[in-house]
Each structure stands twice: as structure tokens, then as C-alpha cells.
């Protein structure tokens, strides 16, 4: 026993240095393979800067990145013109995300079956939660943007869904620094509205958590799809900013068509206005506060030919108004913690509240033609909402994300005097999202993030009743994926 123990000890001593060496080698390899964050493909190749210079965590912009964008994707030095680039340089990046996704949706109306004489027959209905999971893909984005010449910038983004059905998400050209002043820049095309908290640069990817609900909220039954700040819109934008980007303003004139090309609506326009001011707060960083307003009108009636449901595209009339407005805050507590805050007050004309408006998806059930009247008790749907998104930026390569959003109806389209009044909380939304993104490496050629996210969304009163008291719907999503670009 004694001999055996000594022998094992000797063996252990002999093996120890090898194990130690192996551990040292592995440790060195881990250190060696853990590369620092480098540059984002499209623009970093041009300027030789790390992606972290412009992104708090890719794709969300930091202050320097916002200034770069506001300057028309220019650093405002003599390297901006493409003549400085190698002739083979083409500013293009693609992005796609293979994922594993689990979605669980409560309160689905499903058929129930029973066997009648050996034959399965539908005998009724039941409420059931449906949970699905599996491997999936995101859509594919091809980003190409930059300068055509000093102070002439562009951005073209063909984007597909996960079946490779493409559309133009962004197509714009911009005249930058007109008359030598950063206060005057003019953009024409289809572009993202000047939302300081950009949904196109959102850090989350799930179906409900991958958008800002506040930017897309439409009251239940409402036909106004034209007030979605999160969708890219067709129009013309004038924007300006101070030299250091502390002060910004923008004013856009948009077609009221929710960014759909082809003059599908009528001659209706929407304005989007935003302004903000940033403040230097020493070690805490730069704090920014601002406001936005979206004010517009859109048609509620269309000419028809051959029947009440045969709408003639582009023939819209009977324009009714809508507006959304709110405050935006970007608050930084040093280099690691920040809060992004957006509020919204929204209002739609009562006609929209009764489902008039939307023609684009062909589902407009109502047409405000001559002689149509609003039903008794119809009111303008009105709501308020707030979005808070905190981040903990451990390093440019690792960010933890949280978000809470809530939207509360303050006035339902069908008021108490209506034949079928809505509950005061009908359509209210609450949702939270948590997740993190870890970039094990980023090179000047490519980016890669390990992404993990959970979202939970609750909506009041939108589920089927089937004799039950509660019709609230809860949906949860879990997503893991490799988000990469090249």
C-alpha cells in the first residue's frame, strides 16, 4: 500500500510539470486568440479605425459614430473622397444571423377534435399556448455606403427576409455641408428617420424584442400604418449640426406611404422633426436630450373600379391627420453604463381608429367614400408610451442589454358611447428584453457576435375570449445566434 502510494505520488510529480506546461500553453493560446476589437468592414477599411471608434457595440452608434453619420459618412478630413482609396475598394458589407429560436405564444384559438364513429371531427375550440423552436435564419442585408465625392454621400441597402425575397430598405443620396456649413445637409430617397435611438442599429434580434414597439405601435383595429417611425420612409430630409455635433436638428418631408415605393397611396405627406442638444458632464460623459414630432395625414378613402373592394392604387383622398411626439434622452454614467430613453404621445384621427386608411397590404376593410359616417361613440385613439434601454458595456467586445417598454392607451377608438366599447386597457403593451452580445474578435474585414437574448411581451385584451375572463396574451422568445458580417 505504501509502495503503491509513493509510486502514484512520483507519477503525479512527473506528470505535474507536463500538466503545468500544457496549462501554460493553453493559457497562452487563449490569450493569443483573444484578439482586441478591430474595425468594422465597410468604413473601417476606408479610414483604418476600429469598429469601436464609431459603435458603442456594433451596430449601435456611439457619439463619434453619430457625428460621422451626420457628416455624411465622413471624418471631415481630406481622406473622405473615394479618390484616396485603392481603386479596388468597394464599400460593401453583408450581414446575416443563423439562429436557434424558441417562441411561445399564449392564448391561441385552436380546434378540438374527437372521434365520431372512428372519424376525427372538429367538435369545438380551445385556448392553447403554442410553443415552437428550432434552427432558423435572419434576413440578409447588403450595406453599401460612403462618399461619391467629398460632401456627396450615399447609402444603398438591399435587404431580404429569410427566404431571400429582397426589397430596398435604404436608397439615398445626400448633399453634405452645403455652402461649407454643417448646418445644411440635404438627403433624398428612402432612409431611416432621424431617431437618435436607431431601430436599424438595435442590439436585439427577436421578433418582438428586435424592434422598438414604440416606433411601430398601432392601436388595435386602427388603419393608420403611416406613423411608424421605425420604418424607413421615402422623402427628403434637411438636417444640420454643430461642428462637434452637440446641437442637431432635422426636418423631413415624407410621402405618407410607410416607405412603400410605387405611389400606392395618394397625395398625402408627413413631416418628421427632431432636435437635440448634448451636454458635457465631465467624467460621466456627454448627455443628450431632445425631442421629436411626426405630424402627417394619410388617405382614408380610395377610388374603386368594379366593386367596393377594388381599390385604385394611388387614388387616395379623404386625408385625415395623425401625430406622434416625444422626448429622447441618452444618458451616460461613465464609460460602462448608459440609459437610452424615449417617450411617445400618439394620436390618430377617429377615422383611422375605425380601420380606415391602410391600403398597402390590401387589407383595408373600410373605405371612407361619400356618405360614410363614423359610428356613434367613435373617438380618436390616443396613447402614451415609454422605452428605457440600459446598457452595461464591459468592453467594446462585450455588452449587456436590457430594455423595458410600456404603451398605455389613454383613449380608445370605441368610447363608452359606442355600441361595442373597448376596455380602457385594450391593446396595452408591456415588454422587456435582456441579452448580451460578445464579439470574440473583430477584424478590419469582418465582425462576429455571439448573441443571446430573451424577450417577454404582454398585451392586454387581444386574445380570443372563449368565455374566459382574461384575454391577455403573453409571448416569450429565446434566441441564440451567430451574428456576423463581412
Amino acid at each position: 500500500m505504501h509502495v503503491s502510494t509513493r509510486s502514484r505520488m512520483r507519477k503525479a510529480f512527473c506528470v505535474a510539470p507536463s500538466l503545468f506546461s500544457l496549462a501554460a500553453i493553453l493559457f497562452s493560446l487563449v490569450l493569443g486568440c483573444s484578439q482586441p476589437a478591430k474595425a468594422l468592414p465597410a468604413f473601417a477599411r476606408k479610414y483604418g479605425l476600429r469598429c469601436s471608434a464609431c459603435h458603442e457595440s456594433w451596430p449601435m452608434l456611439n457619439y463619434f459614430g453619430q457625428k460621422f453619420k451626420d457628416n455624411g459618412y465622413q471624418l471631415m478630413n481630406d481622406r473622405d473622397a473615394p479618390i484616396w482609396q485603392n481603386p479596388g475598394y468597394w464599400p460593401v458589407t453583408f450581414r446575416i444571423t443563423p439562429i436557434w429560436h424558441r417562441v411561445s405564444t399564449g392564448r391561441n384559438l385552436v380546434d378540438t377534435y374527437s372521434s365520431v364513429g372512428g372519424v376525427s371531427t372538429i367538435t369545438g375550440a380551445a385556448i392553447q399556448r403554442i410553443t415552437k423552436s428550432g434552427f432558423d435564419l435572419s434576413g440578409l442585408d447588403f450595406h453599401t455606403g460612403g462618399t461619391l465625392e467629398k460632401n456627396f454621400s450615399f447609402y444603398v441597402l438591399p435587404s431580404s427576409d429569410n427566404t431571400a425575397s429582397f426589397h430596398f430598405e435604404t436608397v439615398m443620396a445626400r448633399l453634405d455641408n452645403l455652402f461649407g456649413s454643417p448646418w445644411l445637409n440635404v438627403k433624398l430617397g428612402k432612409f431611416e428617420l432621424d431617431n437618435l435611438l436607431s431601430e436599424k442599429r438595435i442590439l436585439t434580434l427577436t421578433g418582438n424584442g428586435g424592434i422598438y414597439q414604440l416606433y411601430h405601435f398601432i392601436p388595435q383595429g386602427d388603419g393608420n400604418i403611416y406613423g411608424q417611425m421605425g420604418d424607413n420612409q421615402l422623402g427628403l430630409e434637411v438636417m444640420g449640426h454643430s461642428w462637434d455635433d452637440r446641437t442637431r436638428y432635422s426636418a423631413s418631408l415624407l410621402s405618407s406611404n410607410n416607405g412603400q415605393p410605387g405611389l400606392m397611396q395618394g397625395n398625402a405627406y408627413t413631416g418628421f422633426f427632431a432636435a437635440s442638444q448634448a451636454f458635457d458632464t465631465g467624467k460621466a460623459g456627454v448627455q443628450r436630450v431632445g425631442f421629436y414630432a411626426m405630424v402627417g395625414e394619410a388617405p382614408t378613402a380610395f377610388l374603386t373600379s368594379g366593386g367596393a373592394s377594388s381599390y385604385i392604387a394611388g387614388s387616395g383622398f379623404g386625408n385625415k391627420s395623425f401625430h406622434r411626439e416625444g422626448f429622447v434622452g441618452q444618458f451616460y454614467l461613465g464609460q460602462h453604463v448608459d440609459f437610452q430613453v424615449v417617450t411617445q404621445h400618439g394620436w390618430d384621427n377617429a377615422w383611422f381608429g375605425q380601420g380606415y386608411g391602410d391600403l398597402i397590404d390590401g387589407s383595408a376593410a373600410n373605405n371612407n367614400t361619400a356618405g360614410t359616417t363614423l359610428p356613434v361613440g367613435a373617438r380618436a385613439p390616443t396613447w402614451n408610451g415609454v422605452l428605457v434601454e440600459p446598457h452595461y458595456v464591459y468592453s467594446p467586445q462585450l455588452i449587456f442589454i436590457g430594455r423595458f417598454e410600456t404603451i398605455r392607451m389613454s383613449q380608445q377608438a370605441n368610447g363608452p358611447a359606442s355600441a361595442n366599447p373597448s376596455a380602457s386597457n385594450f391593446g396595452n403593451i408591456s415588454t422587456y428584453t435582456v441579452g448580451y452580445r460578445y464579439n470574440p474578435f473583430m477584424t478590419s474585414r469582418a465582425g462576429f457576435a455571439w448573441h443571446n437574448e430573451y424577450n417577454w411581451l404582454h398585451q392586454d385584451g387581444t386574445g380570443p375570449t372563449l368565455g374566459l375572463n382574461s384575454t391577455n396574451v403573453n409571448t416569450s422568445e429565446l434566441l441564440l445566434g451567430f451574428d456576423f458580417d463581412f
Binding site: P17, S21, A53, L75, N77, R79, D245, K283
Partner: protein
Amino acid sequence: MQRNLLRNWSLFLGAAVLTLPLTSWAQLTHFDIDSRMNAESHIGNITGHAKDAKGDYRRYCVVCHGELGDGNGESFPWVDPKPRNFQLGVFKCRSTPTGTLPTDEDLFDTIARGLDRSNMPQWSTFTKQQRADLVAWVKHFSPRWTNEKPGAPITIPPEPEVTPERIKAGREVYARVQCWKCHGVLGQADGPSAATLTDDLGRPIAPYNFHEGARPKCGDTDKDIYRIFMTGLDGTPMPSFADNIKPDEAWDLVFYLRTLMSQKSKEKAMARQLGLKPVDPNAPAGQQ
């Protein structure tokens, strides 16, 4: 067995000792630099601390200037001019005499202004505190700040009224101190010496082209231009002319240089009215 055991340990220790020198240079440089981590900068009533700039430096600057501040970041092979080597403590844009360290304000301003004709952008989005911290961080790379004090900023007399006579006098200065040898007679960076210029590290460097429209590296006000040729751009072939040009003559030269620049200016308009010709390199002294 015991002998085997001893031999294994000896081999391991031997390998460790032999490997040590391979990493020692980088480590020693690190230790040396880290020992100055308490470096400070003073900008007005703001005190910058080097240790507070580490995150910003890694996020924004390290790609060019490198982890050790030696200008050997990952973009080094691709950018031209090459990034500044902070370990040398030599800077182009200063308000101080040639050969001396710049003031904290000089570095503070350079960060916000950026350097045209290089990959250094305008980092104007930082807070003043962030910039002050970064100045302290830049200083901690070089032992010069431990051993020397910054030079005293040069005195710049008030700018006189620009006149045609002053522009003509500036032309004389341009010829006398032979600016044209590098910058060319039209200021197009095509003088006879232009192609042969190298910086202090032996790397080719081009003279400033007045005609091209780029902002002068160290600021584009008249005072900034005055300062450039009275302090020189250390580390480059551009010397200080403080001993060769009197302050009044320096202002004359500023006015003449404005006539060479592509931007509109009253000096340019006056030169046009005068029918001012480029300097003649072969003309006798004082007879331009």
C-alpha cells in the same frame, strides 16, 4: 525515478528561463510605461488623469498608436503618414519652441482638431475631461515628461493690418528663407527638395501643399500659421525660423502664404490686383 523527476523539473525551469527574454522587452516597456500611470494634465481648471483614459484609448486610439503608444498599432502598415510614436515625446503641433515639449493645451487642442492630411480625425465629441485624461495618457508613454518641463509658449504679437506692401514683403521672406525649396514657387509642394524629404525616423514625407485646399495641420487661423514657422514641426524637416525671421516679417509671410492657398481671402484678392508673380529662385537677394 527521483532523478527523472529532477530532470523533468530542470528541463521545465530551463525552458522557462530561456523563454523569459523573448517576452522581456515588451514586459519591461510595459512596466516602464505603467510606472508613469499617475501622469496628469492640467487644462484650465480641469485635471486629467492617465488611468482614466485607458478605456477611451483602447476604444479610439490604439488601432493606430498601438498598445505601447509606439505608433505601431494594427493600422500602421496601411496609414500614411504613420501614427505618432508617443514614446519619443516629439510633437509637430506646439506653441512652444522647437525641441521642447508641447503644453498640455497643445495636445488637448490637437485631439479635438485632428490632423488633416493624416488618418487622425477630429475627436471633438469627447468631453473636455475625456480629452484632458487622454492628454495625460499620451504623456505617460514618454519619460520626457518626467525629466523635462514643457517649453514656454512663444509670444505672438498682435496681427497687423494686411496691406499690399506686406504681401510683397512676405514674398521676399518666402524667397529669402527658401520656403520654395520644399513647398515650390507656387506653394504646390513641388520644390526641388520635395522628393528627398524624410522625417526624423527616415520615412519619406511630403511638404504641405498650399494649393490643394487642405487645412494646415496645426490649425488654420493666421495665428496658427504664424506659430508653425516660428516653432517648426518637430520630427519633420520643417524647421523653426524663429532665429531667421523677425515677428513683423513672420506676419508678412503669413499674408503671402494666404495668397498661395486655394481658399478665398482678402490677401488673395490683393495679390490678384497687384499682379503678384511667383518668387524667382534665381533672382538676387532682395530683388524679387
